[in-house]
């Protein structure tokens, strides 16, 4: 259900606010029919949130179409023109490089990159944020990027929330493989972006249905395994309200983050 300014709104009203596109429609439809309550104080934040979800989905599809390879953290690879590879397999933004250029390079020069699935999710989120807020604001917010695993980027506030039935398009969910073969620990699970029409993108498995990803993970279970891979019930999302505050703080020349913003806010956005 979508609530805006204390009133429930239907999909057609929501479409008038966010604009007309198939992508928006699929997001709004999923939000509207969900048991979860998506609560927004105003139209501006609601529109920002839906546009961001759409941009995250587009970024996931673009990464799926690229030549980026999956690699464990022991074998991470990046373009040294933009990034410095750390000992733990992370990518540190080089000085004097624009963050927006560096993120775009991952998609444009994809053959030069290899990384794990959690890092892929952060890259997708950042690409989505970049498209939503534009280069100027993005370059101001993300001057000290470090891409590694779910490493906490102070200006990319993330929340983890309970979700039902595989999440809403633009969410990041996790497929857990509880009896993974010890020879292949990187198949312990798969982070995946929820796409429209019951599809998911996981870095390393591509775009598939939930059943497809589960079947892939099950191939990498240990001999004698009895438990199937499964979807976990909490999703990772951008805390849109917090991001919005950060964005406007920066634009207005404030130097520090608003204090007291709860990264585990229970308000669904």
């Amino acid at each position: 259900m979508i609530i805006m300014n204390y009133q429930p709104i239907d999909v057609s009203t929501a479409m008038q606010l966010v604009g007309s596109s198939e992508r928006y429609q699929s997001i709004l439809q999923a939000m509207s029919t969900s048991q979860e309550v998506f609560n927004y104080p105003n139209a501006e934040l609601f529109t920002f949130s839906v546009h961001l979800r759409a941009a995250i989905i587009d970024a996931a599809v673009k990464l799926a179409e690229s030549d980026v390879r999956f690699a464990t953290f022991y074998g991470s690879k990046c373009n040294p023109e933009y990034w410095q590879l750390s000992h733990e397999g992370g990518f540190l933004l080089k000085p004097n490089v624009q963050p927006s250029h560096a993120i775009r390079d991952i998609f444009n020069n994809s053959r030069q990159y290899a990384f794990e699935c959690a890092t892929a999710m952060v890259i997708i989120l950042l690409k989505g944020v970049n498209r939503t807020i534009g280069d100027e604001a993005f370059n101001r917010l993300y001057r000290h990027l470090y891409l590694w695993d779910w490493h906490e980027e102070p200006h990319l506030p993330l929340i983890i929330e309970p979700v039902e039935a595989g999440g809403i398009p633009g969410d990041i969910i996790y497929f857990k493989n509880p009896q993974v073969n010890p020879r292949t620990p990187w198949w312990q699970g798969e982070n995946a972006v929820v796409l429209p029409n019951g599809r998911y993108y996981g870095h390393g498995v591509g775009i598939q249905t939930a059943e497809g990803i589960i079947a892939t993970l099950n191939k990498f279970r240990r001999p004698g395994a009895t438990r199937s891979a499964f979807i976990m019930d909490r999703a990772t999302r951008i805390n849109v309200a917090h991001l919005y505050v950060l964005l406007h703080s920066r634009i207005n020349g404030w130097t520090s983050e608003r204090k007291g913003t709860n990264r585990r806010s229970t308000t669904h956005l």
Partner: protein, 325 residues
């Protein structure tokens, strides 16, 4: 086994102490050329640390049969991890002996070489050994894993997979080993410990020693009632590996951490109460279970009376005693 000279210092260990890996290889080649038999006694010395064997692995692969079973297994493990070679077991060896040799070998690798970084591939070999020992051989090495984890964090080394191994252990005891690092003098240790323990109330916002006390108190109160969520550093940015099973805490019946099933039968009256309790809002479940635990620990006789009361009476009693409901 007797050494060539009981009082002599093992030249390989001596070279290892200076972390001179190239020099170590030269020393080995020289030893082997001068006196092969003595060289194998030095390399098979029980005091040899795993990094020595690791740095000599390419050379030792050719003389595999002259090594102890433990060292043969360690060499097999290295090539299994780095090259994907099958992990061979010693032909004709008794199944139980194989198991014990494997446990001995992996434990030795972790204990003598976990807090070390020979080269960029080395953590991969150690991580795999930890994962196999804990999850395949079900041998408790959680404390060693935590120590390696903090070593890697301090030194900026690879820690993703070993942290996953820690979470996948699904063992609340691991949280105590992490809490130990809240006493560290190194700020990096404290920050890392707090990040792992951040799902426990008030750990992040309190000073380190108070955080430690919060962790220990929380575990003391909830350990029997924790259910593993399967969340790890791979699945979520701020994993919450355990949640409190409030009905279990309320009824005072321990659960299996992984399956969440009660460790002994509820009985007819508790079964009905369990169903009713589960239907309560979460806030009520939290308060009732906390009160139940407190009463059970301080006055079991009174608790038996209280637990037999209908749920709404229990709530009223809590309200009368000023519990926030």
């Amino acid at each position: 086994m007797t050494h060539p000279n009981e009082r002599a210092i093992n030249p390989l260990i001596k070279r290892y102490k200076s972390r001179d890996w190239d020099g170590l290889r030269t020393t080995w080649t020289d030893l082997l050329r001068e006196n092969g038999e003595a060289a194998f006694e030095w390399i098979n010395d029980p005091d040899i640390a795993f990094p020595i064997l690791y740095s000599l692995a390419p050379e030792l692969a050719d003389v595999h049969d002259n090594l102890t079973v433990k060292h043969q297994m360690a060499i097999n493990h290295i090539f299994s991890v780095l090259n994907g070679d099958p992990f061979g077991i010693i032909e004709g060896m008794d199944l139980l002996d194989q198991y014990h040799y494997c446990v001995e070998c992996f434990e030795w690798m972790i204990r003598s070489g976990g807090l070390e970084t020979v080269d960029s591939q080395y953590p991969y070999v150690i991580d795999h050994a930890c994962d196999l020992l804990l999850h395949h051989f079900h041998h408790d090495c959680l404390q060693d894993i935590v120590d390696i984890l903090f070593y890697r964090n301090r030194s900026g080394g690879q820690r993703h997979y070993i942290l996953s191994t820690f979470y996948n252990a699904a063992n609340p005891i691991g949280l105590i080993y992490v809490a130990k690092y809240l006493r560290s003098k190194d700020a990096k240790d404290i920050a890392f410990a707090k990040s792992i323990l951040s799902f426990i109330p008030d750990v992040v916002s309190t000073p380190p020693l108070e955080s430690e006390s919060r962790v220990l108190t929380w575990l003391e109160e909830n350990r029997d009632y924790l259910i593993y969520t399967y969340e790890t550093n791979d699945s979520h940015p701020h994993p919450e590996p355990f949640r409190i099973h409030y009905p279990a805490k309320y009824l005072g019946i321990p659960i299996d951490h992984t399956s969440g099933s009660f460790l002994y039968p509820l009985g007819e009256s508790f079964e009905k109460r369990y169903q009713d309790f589960q239907a309560l809002p979460l806030h009520f479940q939290k308060q009732l279970s906390a009160y139940s635990l407190q009463l059970r620990r301080t006055n079991r006789g009174l608790w038996y009376q209280w637990i037999a009361e209908p749920l709404n009476t229990q709530v009223t009693i809590l309200q009368q005693r000023g519990w926030p409901l």
